[in-house]
């Protein structure tokens, strides 16, 4: 029983395939991973779509069986198959539940990649995909322009006018909901506000680079700014390399693998040359792809070593402050309030299941003075945001969100904290639709932490 014995086994069956899509799937799907699934079913209770429907094809075990049936040539990759693959949230809650360590996230990405190669999108969808995935996210300056445009729409009164005359009613309801919760956009990102180097308060523990993200820096630039200041307070010198680009997650999850790889290679070069000890992410969705650049580029020999270096340096902001930093005092004026304020936390699936950071945010929250942390039931379950899932699969996303909000409301928390912009927007939409926006505010954990340091209103700092 040696390794060489095992290598002699045919990796993939030789089968007759019925269509170009079947061939692509056969080619792209990792047959070892398909074989590794032993069908024990332990993933089923972890899967949000299975929990909603109880229907085996909507489970990880079922989807893997479908992929394998296509790779084995016993099933056509028909429209139902393609829909089923797209119905997966990609939250990867099935991975920690899997005894055999099947890389489900990779399999679903491979399937979507193959499907995308042969997809026949309608003209508007094709246009939107091209504009956003190819024309917008990869390009920093264009994103800034979008930010300014959005900002103009919001601040000029156009938004009020649009809402007033009811023009938003012509859009599907899930897009209308999105428009309502959209935060104030800006063309002034974190670098424009703080520069590319921000010194540590006190003795420098380490030099870290901020991964600022694409959407993050347009819609949540304030959170990026707060991340930098919080890191500085915790003893880190923060570098924000201005040449960094979008992580590529939205591309990878939509089957645009080549584009995702291109972005990854740029980021490898940019961060390697920055001379830093850690690469910090404050968005679970980005971090999860960054930490898997080695897998994304596994066929790229030239960038192999660099990718390994990169992934070994990517960390979550909560983890870094908790494990390596000087934990700041989170005692602002509310520390003396008579009744502690109730807070709760919604995990970012990718932060929890891929970056494996679920304990750090919770432990960090314990350091906040005078708050009452209430663990929400099923906080580890996806909220339905899942990248752009809430736009592409609004019905399922809506069902998941409604159930999520039942648990959220039961916590009676005043603050619902999250670690990812997508989750944040989705939870905001949830509170607006199924909760009480007067009572519950949704915030990024970094913003809440920084606010609780009482620095925001002080002019002279320390």
């Amino acid at each position: 029983m040696t390794e060489s014995n095992h290598a002699a086994i045919h990796k993939k069956p030789t089968v007759k395939l019925s269509s170009p899509l079947a061939e692509s799937l056969h080619l792209k799907l990792d047959y070892d991973q398909l074989t590794n699934c032993m069908r024990c079913g332990f993933c089923l209770p972890a899967c949000p779509t299975f929990r909603e429907t109880g229907f085996e094809p909507e489970s990880p075990r079922g989807r893997i069986a479908l992929m394998k049936a296509v790779a084995d040539g016993i099933m056509e990759p028909d429209q139902a198959f393609q829909n089923q693959m797209n119905q997966c949230l990609g939250c990867r809650a099935c991975e920690p539940a899997c005894p055999a360590d099947v890389k489900y996230g990779q399999l679903i990405e491979q399937a979507k990649d193959a499907i995308e190669d042969h997809a026949e999108h309608s003209v508007p969808v094709k246009g939107l995909r091209k504009t956003m995935l190819k024309g917008m996210f990869p390009h920093r300056h264009r994103l800034k322009w979008m930010g300014r445009g959005l900002s103009f729409y919001q601040k000029s009164g156009l938004q009020r006018v649009a809402r007033g005359i009811g023009i938003m009613r012509v859009f599907p309801s899930h897009l209308r909901e999105l428009e309502q919760i959209m935060p104030a956009a800006t063309g002034r990102g974190v670098v424009e506000r703080l520069g590319t180097v921000y010194p540590a308060k006190g003795e420098t523990i380490a030099r870290v680079a901020l991964f600022r993200g694409c959407i993050m820096d347009v819609l949540f630039a304030e959170t990026n700014v707060n991340t930098v200041k919080l890191l500085s307070e915790a003893g880190f010198e923060v570098i924000i390399p201005n040449e960094q680009v979008c992580c590529g997650a939205l591309h990878a999850h939509s089957g645009e693998m080549d584009l995702a790889r291109e972005l990854a290679r740029t980021n490898l070069r940019v961060f390697k040359s920055a001379g830093i000890d850690y690469i910090v992410s404050n968005a679970g969705g980005c971090g999860a792809l960054l930490i898997e650049y080695d897998h994304l580029l596994h066929e790229d020999e030239e960038h192999g070593n660099l990718a390994e270096w990169f992934v070994s340096h990517v960390v979550d902001v909560s983890w870094l402050i908790l494990e390596r930093g000087r934990i700041p005092l989170f005692t602002d004026r509310s520390a003396t309030a008579e009744v502690p304020v109730k807070i709760t936390y919604q995990d970012s699936c990718h932060l929890r299941n891929v970056m494996k950071s679920s304990g750090s945010p919770r432990q960090l929250m314990r350091h906040i003075a005078n708050v009452d942390f209430v663990e929400m039931k099923e906080a580890d379950r996806c909220c339905g945001s899942a990248g752009i899932y809430n736009l592409t699969q609004p019905v399922m996303a809506g069902r998941i969100l409604e159930h999520k909000m039942e648990h959220a409301n039961r916590t009676e928390a005043h603050y619902m904290l999250t670690s990812n912009p997508g989750c944040l927007l989705q939870m905001k939409a949830g509170v607006l639709k199924y909760g009480n926006p007067e009572h519950m505010e949704v915030k990024h954990i970094v913003d809440f932490l920084y606010e609780r340091m009482g620095r925001t209103n002080e002019s002279a700092g320390d």
Binding site: N5, I9, H10, T35, M38, P57, A80, Q84, P99, A100
Partner: protein
Amino acid sequence: MLEQSIVQQLRQIVGNQYFRDDNEALVTHSYDGTPMLQSLPDGVIYPENKQQISEIMKVLAENRIPVVSRGSGSNLCGGTVPILGGIVMVMHRMNRILEVDVDNLTATVQPGLITAEFISNIESKGLFYPPDPSSMRISTIGGNIAECSGGLRGLKYGTTKDYVIGLEAVLANGEIIRTGGKLMKDVAGYDLTKLLVGSEGTLAIITEATLKLIPPPRSKQTMLAMFNNLYDAARTVSKIIESKIIPATLEFMDNPTIRVVDDFAKLGLPRDMEAILLIEQDGDLEAVERDIKMIEHICIAEKAERVEVAESREHAERLLTARRSAFTALARLRPTTILEDATVPRSKIADMVRRINEIALKYDVMIATFGHAGDGNLHPTATTDARDHEEVHRVEQAFEEIFQAAIELGGTITGEHGVGLVKAPFLEWKIGKPGIEVMRGIKQAFDPHNLLNPGKLFAKETRKRVVINRD
């Protein structure tokens, strides 16, 4: 392929969306938790209540169409693979707790209820349902009843059959029967309740179960003992029982398992140990402390190399990690994992483990053994690759010999997984020809047209027993 008229009748009974015969549905109901088995059904149906099931059975009986009823399809004996096609009936929609009766200490539930959800519900009411198969987070009460599932607490608390006291089931002809009830004593005729428990969906379709509950133990303690001799560990198990102590958990891991677990979980286990025993006792605090102290003395007297008693719940959790990681660690070694459940009288555990290790060596296959030492229920687990047909053949030969060894030692081919498809060729080894004949008679009485989970339990041909010359 089903005739369109039959499809229409079935759709009429359950509603359009709850009968499926598209590719996606057929492919994803062609397997269960058993490696290397797959067979497409002709349709999948999701009934909502017993009336629907009764009507479905009338249609299927009239047209002689087989039916495989199942919960989550997590069994390990090929018990729910539709090898003769027909309809797969999934009980997921029937997943409610109908009643928790605190006066009689019973719960009445539907078969599609997930076992762990049931347990957490009744525990929140301060009650206790002991059967805890490792699959309980996904397996259903109905599936547990069909397979008579065991678990870690079998030694002290028994298995599923000890807690099912009443059933409602639909027969092959669509008639509905009720057996037992909220009764601790009931000798009115044959005990059909116990007959249906473990019948693997071959006699009737269970639609409701009345389960016995008990008060929960007040406290629990955990300890770990390591041995560098297999027989010392086995003797320790016997001595504990001889001392009139029945531990709640008495788990065992052999050397190959220890090595794999240590590689995986990095627990710093001594890799040269031949056996680890994980022991838990529950009950009243004083009694638990007394028992654990006594067990500790026995372990030391029987030459345990190291004994560790947990001082806190966190410490206990750490000790439990080794045993809990066993399956996961083994499952990650190679693509295909075959988990069996040969069982022997507990006095024969050391002999059985030695035989398993010899057999693995003989066939040059990787087999690690862990399991429930207290009740002699072992899990020899082979790791292999389904695509390597030559090696898989050797694994099959090894298991054949393992089953034979179990029977020679007074044991059985399966302790808690069931016969299903995988062990059907070996059933006669355990119960003999007359035993098979009686069982066939029972099957005939319940299901004259062989429509309920056909092809399971009874093999077309019994495997020939190999004559082994030892020494």
